[in-house]
Structure formats: C-alpha cells, structure tokens
Amino acid sequence: MNNTDLTVDICGIKLKNPVIAASGTFGFGREHSDYVDLNKIGGISVKGLTLNPREGNKPPRVAETPAGMLNSVGLQNPGVRYFIENEIQFLRQFSTAIIANIAGNTIEEYCEMAEILSDADIDAIELNVSCPNVKAGCVAFGNTPEGIADITSQVRKHCRKPLIVKLTPNVTSISDIAAAAEDAGADALSLINTLLGMAIDIEARRPILANNTGGLSGPAVKPVAVRMVYEVYRTVKIPIIGMGGISTGNDAVEFLLAGASAVMVGTACLVYPDACIKVCEGIEQYMKRHGFCRVADITGKLMLNT
C-alpha cells in the first residue's frame, strides 16, 4: 500500500501510467504541450492519419449536445508521411508512448500505412475501423465480424508494431466484433469510438453539422462505453483500452473495474487541456484509498450482482 505503481504494460507497450490522450482530441501534442507536461501522460494517440493528406469535412464540424458533443472533422490530417517527418521528433522529446491512429478508404491503404509506420519511431498502431469501406458499399470496416476480421488479419501481416484495433460502438454485438478482431490477430482493443448522432438547428431546419451526422462523445456516452468494455472483457483475453466520456479519475476507475487495462481521454482534453493529468491523479488517489498497488490489480475487479 505504501507504493502505488501506475505503470502498465499493454501487449508490450510500456506506459508510465494508464492514461492516454484519445485520437483526434490531442492533435500531435503540440497545442496541449503549452498547458501540460507531456512527460506526465501515459501515451498519446495522435490525430487519425491517412495515407495522403486530407482536408476533412466542411464546417461547422462540432455541435454540443446534452453532456456530449458531435464532431465531423472528417479526418483532416497532413498524411502519414508528414507525420513521420515532422511530428514524431517533437513527440519523442517527451517520455510518453506514441500511438499512431490510422484510417483509410481501403484495406490496401491501411496495410501500406502499417508498413510505413512499422519502420517509424512509434510505439503502437491503432486501427480506426469506423471508416466506410469504399470497396464494400461504404459499410464501416468495423461494423461486421467479417469486416473487422478481414482488415485486422491483413494489416497484421504488414504491422511490426503492437496492433490495437479500435472498435466502433455502432454495432449489435460488440463482443462478436471484439472476438473477431482478437482471432484475426489484434494485440489489444480500444473502445469506444463515437456513436453516430445528429443535432438539428430547428430555426434553420438543417442539421447543425455541415456533414449532417457526426460522432457523439463525452460524458453522455459513458454508460454505453462502460457496458461495452464489460462485455468485451468477458469475451477476449487481449488487453482492453477503455474510453468514452472519461473526465475524472472516478470515471476511469469504472472502466478499469469493467475490464480495461488502460484508458483514453478524449472530449475532456478539449475542455480541460490538463484532463489526462487530473484523471491520472484521480486513479492514483483511488488506488491509495483502496490499497491497490498496481493498476492491473483493478482491471476486471468488478463484482457482479447476482
């Protein structure tokens, strides 16, 4: 009880603490570095990368909803090569894990990125499978067990870094999807990505987002996210990174108890640039209060009511 050890090891990715900045809410770390010491953050999942630069969607790209927000950034990013040449060096100044979050239109694009990134100085690759597969009727890769198995197994062949598959929550059975990703070779799973939503400006009679629909994140989604982490934990053996509405250490502990080995903080990082630090401090306090020495001791320690 005297020593609280915050380190975690997720499929070989060593984190100094279990709190990772979620993709798309932390850029490439530069902006947040004005407000927080990046050395204190377990890891950073960078803004979703694509093979070629992307302009993203028209604005407005954000709408506030009750205890949540919708976004439709549409993966604006400078491309994976720009990232490697111009951003990794900045991030490597800090002792924090670098996770490259990747997205694409086709499995080939994902594979090519995995290939390129496997030679880069990063710690892991996170597969964003919530994107439409343009060769399969624009159904998201992660919407079916077959789809996620296909992309995971193919990327696996090109990926020489730990491979995290990030699940979309817009599915009937998250455990079937998770099992398919595990079987296809994922080293870890992260969940949840955003829930598909819409907000309407009733005066203009138009959706607020120029893209009409967007992804829901923030506190509102937490109960859905915790439930999914709990279901997935009972299904797979690989480690889980939990997220969805985490703003405090107590929120994070819910995910750890439900089965997560680490957590990601997204929307909260937009509102409070130092959110990751606060979440981490909250986890540490909880551990001290309950006499947990290691984070792994909390993982999955939820007792079910009978």
Binding site: Y35, G56, G68, V73, D274
Partner: protein, 261 residues
C-alpha cells in the same frame, strides 16, 4: 502564450436586453492580450454546457489588471454566464488566437462592426496608433445599439446604421463603408460581424483593392488548435484551397485569404 486560468469577476452589468458585460480581474490576460484575441470560457463545472464558449476580449485596463467581455445571451452557456455575480471565479483559457495586425504604418483605418462583432474592435481602436480612425457600427435595431460613447471616444468619426432605420442611417453598415472606401483611402479596414457582412466587406475591399482584416467565427471544440473542428477554408500562396483553424490560425484573417462559400 495562453494559460488555463481561474480569475475573479469584479463586475457584472446588463448592457442591453440580451447583452451582458463582465469585467474580470486578470493580470495575465490584461498584460498579454492583443486586440482580436479571445478567451474560451467554461461556463460551469461538469457536463452541462460541456464545451467552452469563445468570447472576444472587448477591452483591457492594463493599469487595473482587468479586462471586459461583452456577450449576448443565446443558449445554455451564455445564460449561465449572465447569472454570474461579482466575486465568482471564471474558468478561462486565454488569451487565444491570432489577433489583428496593427502595423505602425497604418495611419488611416476603418473599424467596421456588426452586432456582437463590434466588441473586439473597441480594444483594436485602443491599441491602434493610426491618425484617422473611422468607426462604422451596424445593428439590427435601436434596441441593440450599445457602446457608442466608448467607440466615439476612441474614433475620429463614428457612424451607425440599423437595418430598420430606428437609429442612425437605415440599411447596412457595409453601405457606409462602400460610400467612404474610395475617398478615405484606408490603409487597413478591420471588420468583425456576421458571415454575410464579412463576405460583403471582403467583396467591397477586393473590388477597390483595399486591404482588409476580418475576424471569423466558427463553432469550436477546444479553442486552442487541437481538435480541428473550427475549420475555415483559405487560399494558400499557390492558389489552392486549404482548411485552417479559426481558433489558432485566426480568428483574424486577411479578407483576400478567406474562401467565402
């Protein structure tokens, strides 16, 4: 550099029916803010009004270490703000964004504001070293008119327009600018206001080859450059188009760089 600050409110005042003025004591903001910059406010703790609200810095009193915000009550966030009292703390991130370029060489300037877009221009007029400062303010109707005295004191001339003619001249503030733009030979036009007004001003400036800086608005996720939600389409040097961030690449842009769609 901007900071995450908890500052004390020293005054809350109702300026019009729906517009409030809040004075905040902040050594840091008042020492470091430039005209055209804004602060991003967490209106209350917790998940209600989840995102911060961007509000322009309207004026700064460096000697007192205070600055003023003027804001219109629209939805949940500004309503909570309007309920703040003297002595309450305000959770702000700022000063944020790239403000107006106040080159010492600009001797004749125009400040064109519409509605809640007039606020950052007050700070601009304060800091500008120009010799001629012509202010043009537009409002929907007489009930919305405010800050005339403050603008008057800081300008060489001040004209107002209301859409319904209930105060000042009838019509748009852009009409006034268009009338004067040739004769006045402004070194720089500064503008802030609703999108259609800015588009019109860009057109006018473009037509007459006048230089013009405009302050853009966009819905924001973070306000400090991290989330890419506040996109604004701009022309790059090679003529291609590219989304940049209103919050950190702007909110002030050269009008010729902005792609109005």
């Amino acid at each position: 550099m901007s900071k995450l600050l908890k500052e004390v409110i020293t005054r809350v005042e109702r300026a019009t029916d729906s517009i409030f003025r809040i004075t905040v004591a902040s050594e840091y903001i008042s020492a470091n803010a430039a005209p055209g910059q804004f602060v991003n406010i967490k209106c209350c703790d917790g998940a209600q009004a989840l995102l911060r609200r961007p509000i322009s810095i309207c004026s700064v009193d460096r000697s007192k270490g205070e600055f003023d915000l003027y804001f219109q009550v629209k939805g949940a966030g500004t309503e909570i703000l309007a309920g703040k009292k003297r002595g309450d703390t305000l959770d702000i991130l700022g000063p944020l964004g790239r403000g107006f370029d106040l080159d010492i060489g600009y001797r004749r300037i125009a400040a064109v504001g519409g509605g809640i877009g007039i606020f950052p221009l007050l700070f601009l007029l304060d800091e500008s070293k120009a010799v001629v400062k012509r202010s043009y303010l537009g409002f929907r109707s007489s009930g919305q008119v405010l800050l005339l005295e403050e603008f008057g004191e800081r300008s060489t001339s001040l004209e107002t327009a209301t859409e319904d003619g209930s105060f000042g001249s009838k019509g748009f503030v852009t009409d006034l600018l268009e009338r004067d733009i040739i004769s006045e030979e402004f070194d720089m036009i500064y503008a802030c206001g609703p999108y259609p007004m800015l588009r019109k001003i860009s057109e006018i400036a473009g037509k007459h080859g006048a230089r013009c800086q405009i302050s853009m608005e966009q819905r924001m996720g973070c306000g400090f450059g991290a989330c890419l939600t506040c996109a604004c389409m701009t022309y790059t040097d090679d003529g291609s188009r590219h989304y940049v961030r209103v919050c950190s690449d702007g909110p002030v842009f050269n009008s010729e760089d902005v792609v109005f769609e």
